[in-house]
């Protein structure tokens, strides 16, 4: 079972680790010092002479007709410069969307969710703008609310988008279904007859929020050519621009975007928030306009993770081989499309988890409802499925009298195995090994709180210094889970990135300048871009230009894809720069010095060397000698990973995902069974990352993802009432883990190369978010003996009430 991890080798020279700060090293963040001194400029820190502050007026109702809007009193409020409503939109295009343009920039005659933007106010002070917004009179006629599957799919259900013409409309069973994807393979019904044990369950995942700390913010500055410059925190500059420009009635080139400092994202900045609004106001007033959401508006102003109801049936033979899977996954997409279709695709194609099941009958769909729109959040689609299939694995193991880890390992996907979509997994899939690694780790000592003589260290106990227990009624549990996530944009999407790389002599030193539009959201993309340039060009100094729309698209900072795709683009551009330089050198020197005729020269440690490492000339000297002919070497080029295919609409078959990513967790919890309080004592993770381009940043991703999964297990949920209103839009009522809630998280990193990917790397960010949640739930089940079909847990789920 156990194999030694192979340390990935780069596919081409130069060799790994030879350059300070190159690929494979924990290079320092280029923005680190600015961030620790408080000088790093986040979107909410921007300032401009003469700027206005703007706020949004949002709908208090989940579903209503707008009968009238009166802005007179707000306009008359001292200090107010501008009030805009739907009627002021300048273009015939008034809607936008990531995939389907169905989201109004400002609501017209109807609002479809609580918090939908209705009007905008710009004033000389944020409080002036807020006071004025409160004076806008909107007359609503409330409409019946669609809030779950039964109200959405009723024959007389109100239709969220009665005139929809999107590409999914033709194949959905009901107009309130955004998208539906079956995945059918083998014969699940026949296989069910061969099963010795069948386990069925219905599971529920609550609505999680990204809860990034830096609120939605930006500054729009009107330009002399009638265009606008937008400085904003986002995940994909070019996708923003594609959606913004038509609503402003401008060609894309007149919307110039620059990434400002991003305070976390986690999917929540994939959809637009204040971008169009700030630009509209700036163009209308002719003055710079700044918008900064407060926390309540942030909760209302971005999409959330899809809540889900998941019906699962697994069968197995007595020796623990899975016979079949039948499942139906119902995701609540809320009022607008956002990224629901892709979430459905992930949920369907990854519904079986990292297991080989020959016979599957899977269906996933997303609903339109009047609940808050749901879209991208770390691990989307795969998180919900993992919660259900991992609970099923534990129940199946219990039914079979098998060890739950052994059952998983017996059915674990391996390289060469086949997914339910028919896709053969053509890179390492160390599912069994990851499980083995977390299990073999020694367990943390029992009764850590016990200070002897009846004393207790409260901080080690459930309830903490709330002093709710001194160890009485505290029971330990241990749980395991493993998950599978796709990396990159799937289903035939043209998933590319663009990098511009320049090599030149600056002050006598060779300097590489790297320019991409990739959004740095905290993950360290800027660090790895510099590392790649150092490794490929053999230089010490790399300058990273700010991300903006003067360079081609980098694609989204999401789907664990940027190190793979933009990393690939930077590497590709660097390779071309290197070849241009070496070609120029060959042309000049090969006639007199035959060694230059060799095709296999390298840039290495500041020098041009032969493959044997023999130095020929310093890069600085070479650049100086070539300077008359080539003052610089510059390449801008696009790079794409191998293509994927759409899933067949009826069977879900197809090569849909470019890469898979795997992580396993073991959670150790202690539960105060009297009060229903849970303390996670340790959350160990093992993950295959293909190649740790920056080992420190890899750990940061694994720790952060695991913690967000812990949050979904124990505390994080947006509560939406039956009337469709959000009940907890604050950090007082929506809790995310503090340092006291977060346990030690030992991590085992495997590096098994994916030969299709740059440096063999595997996208890292999302996989650890998947298995963390079901591992914690499994541990609490073991401690309490309760079924626990829903996440997040609440104390009442653990008590006899």
């Amino acid at each position: 079972m156990q194999t030694q991890p192979t340390r990935t080798r780069p596919e081409s020279t130069p060799a790994d680790g030879q350059h300070a700060g190159g690929v494979g090293e924990s290079a320092a963040r280029p923005d680190g010092t600015l961030k620790v001194t408080g000088e790093f400029a986040y979107a909410s820190d921007l300032w401009h002479e003469d700027m206005l502050w703007a706020v949004t007026l949002r709908s208090p109702h989940a579903h209503a007709r707008i009968l009238a809007v009166d802005v007179g009193e707000a306009l008359a409020h001292p200090g107010v410069q501008c009030v805009l409503t739907h009627d002021d939109l300048p273009s015939r295009t008034t809607v936008y969307g990531l995939e389907v343009a169905d989201t109004p920039a400002l609501a017209g005659d109807r609002v479809r969710y609580h918090g939908e933007p209705v009007a905008l106010v710009a004033a000389d002070h944020p409080e002036t703008a807020r006071s004025a917004a409160a004076k806008i009179r909107v007359e609503y006629e409330q409409l019946p609310v669609v809030h779950d599957e039964s109200t959405a799919l009723a024959t007389d259900a109100p239709l969220l988008h009665p005139d929809r013409t999107d590409g999914h409309a033709a194949h959905v069973p009901h107009p309130n279904v955004v998208h539906r994807q079956p995945v059918v393979r083998g014969d699940a019904a026949a296989a069910a007859a061969r099963a010795d044990v069948v386990v069925t369950g219905e599971y529920e995942v609550g609505m999680q929020d990204q809860a990034f700390l830096g609120p939605e913010s930006g500054l729009a500055v009107p330009a002399e050519d009638g265009g606008v410059e937008l400085y904003v925190a986002t995940q994909w500059l070019h996708a923003d621009r594609r959606q913004i420009a038509p609503v402003l009635g401008l060609p894309e080139e007149k919307v110039r975007m620059v990434l400002s400092g991003v305070g976390g994202a986690f999917g929540g900045r994939e959809d637009l928030s204040m971008q169009i609004h700030a630009c509209l106001l700036a163009l209308h007033t002719g003055r710079p306009v700044k918008m900064v959401y407060n926390r309540e508006e942030s909760f209302l102003g971005h999409v959330h993770r899809h809540p889900a109801v998941l019906h699962y049936e697994h069968g197995a033979t007595a020796d623990g081989r899975l016979t079949h899977l039948k499942c139906r996954i119902v995701l609540d997409g809320g009022a607008y499309t956002s990224s629901s279709p892709a979430v459905v695709g992930n949920a369907a194609s990854l519904a079986a988890g990292p297991y080989e099941v020959e016979n599957v009958d899977i269906e996933a769909l997303a609903l339109f409802t009047n609940n808050p729109p749901c879209g991208a959040m770390r691990g989307f689609g795969a998180v919900q499925a993992c919660f259900a299939y991992e609970a099923q694995m534990d129940r199946l193991a219990a039914e079979l009298g098998m060890d739950p880890v052994e059952l998983r390992q017996r059915n674990a996907l391996r390289q060469g195995g086949t997914m339910p979509t028919g896709q053969v997994v053509d890179s390492p899939a160390p599912v069994a090994e990851l499980l083995g690694r977390v299990r073999e780790r020694p367990l943390p000592p029992e009764r850590r709180w016990d200070t002897g003589a009846g004393g207790a260290e409260l901080r080690e106990l459930p309830g903490g210094v709330g002093n709710t227990t001194h160890g009485e009624d505290v029971v330990r549990g241990v749980g395991y889970a493993v998950g599978i996530k796709n990396v990159g944009f799937s289903e035939g999407f043209d998933d590319y990135s663009t990098a511009r790389v320049r090599l030149e002599l600056v002050g006598g030193e060779p300097v590489a300048t790297v320019h991409t539009a990739a959004a740095e959201v905290g993950q360290g993309g800027v660090t790895v871009q510099g590392q790649i340039a150092r490794t490929e060009l053999g230089v010490e100094r790399v300058v990273l230009q700010p991300a903006d729309t003067t360079v081609g698209s980098a694609g989204s900072t999401s789907a664990s894809r940027q190190t793979y795709v933009t990393g690939g683009a930077v590497r590709n551009a660097c390779t071309q720069v290197r070849e241009h330089l070496l070609d120029a050198a060959r042309r000049r020197y090969a006639a007199t010095e035959p060694v230059w005729a060799s095709a296999a020269l390298q840039l290495h440690g500041g020098k041009v060397t032969t493959t044997e490492g023999r130095p020929l000339v310093g890069i600085a000297q070479l650049l100086a000698e070539l300077h008359d002919e080539h003052p610089e070497f510059t390449v801008e080029s696009e790079w794409r990973h191998r293509p994927t295919q759409p899933f067949d609409p009826a069977t879900g078959q197809g090569f849909g995902h470019v890469q898979y990513s795997f992580a396993a967790h073991r959670a150790v919890v202690e539960v105060d069974t009297r009060l229903g309080l849970v303390k996670v004592v340790e959350l160990a993770c093992a993950q295959d990352v293909g190649k740790a381009v920056n080992p420190q940043a890899v750990l940061g991703q694994i720790h952060g993802g695991s913690t967000q999964g812990l949050g979904l297990a124990l505390m994080e949920e947006i509560l939406v009432g039956p009337e469709g209103t959000v009940r907890n839009p604050s950090f007082t009522d929506y809790l995310i883990p503090t340092v006291l809630d977060t346990p030690p998280m030992p991590v085992d990193v495997l590096e098994l190369a994916d030969d299709h990917a740059p440096y063999g790397l595997r996208g890292v960010g999302e996989a650890p978010t998947l298995s963390s949640t079901p591992a914690v739930l499994a541990a609490v089940r073991q401690a309490t003996g309760r079924a626990l079909r829903r996440t997040p847990l609440r104390p009442e789920h653990l008590l006899e009430v």
């Binding site: 620790v36 300032w47 409080e127 700390l213 976390g264 940043a697 720790h703 952060g704 604050s730 977060t742």
Partner: protein
């Protein structure tokens, strides 16, 4: 109204302050010190943590008028403050806790970092060798969404160890 107080050792005056403005707003928007962050403005996240006459507070919960005559320390003044405290003038250096956050990988998006640095520095000032439980308790009011806190704990341990070796 006019508010006068000392920020990072320098006397500052802010004019035309509206009575409802927080200390955080005045620091960020009137005094050009945006280092203290505005993540929740509800006193729940700690990203705006500053020291008010030595005590860590959420600047979003302090009315600007309450700071009249006080001494305020923000992340922008942390390096100078640490230097003066240690009595070792080394111009243009980060404070030990800033250095440790950088080295330990405790910074990702960095939005929580300024508040955590002020809180961690204050902890190490009163407790130079804190236990893990003491670090967790001291930083429990500072939310971080990126790191899972592991590297932040490493950074505080590193800063404490570094100070212990001096």
């Amino acid at each position: 109204m006019r508010v006068t107080f000392t920020v990072n050792g320098r006397r500052c005056e802010a004019d035309d302050v509206w009575e409802g403005e927080s200390l955080l707003y005045v620091l960020r928007e009137r005094l050009g010190l945006p280092g203290s962050k505005n993540a929740c403005e509800q006193g729940e996240c700690g990203s705006c943590t500053v020291r008010l006459d030595g005590t860590p507070v959420c600047a979003c919960l302090v009315a600007a008028g309450q700071a009249e005559g006080s001494e305020v320390l923000t992340v922008e003044g942390l390096a100078d403050f640490a230097r003066q405290r240690s009595g070792e003038p080394e111009p243009d250096q980060l404070s030990p806790v800033q250095e440790a956050f950088n080295r330990a990988g405790a910074v990702q998006c960095g939005f929580c970092t300024p508040g955590l640095l002020v809180a961690a520095d204050e902890l190490l000032e009163r407790n130079p060798l804190p236990s893990d439980a003491e670090i967790r308790e001291a930083l429990a009011g500072n939310l971080c969404r990126c790191t899972g806190y592991e590297k932040i704990l490493d950074a505080v341990r590193l800063a404490a160890r570094g100070a212990g070796e001096e």
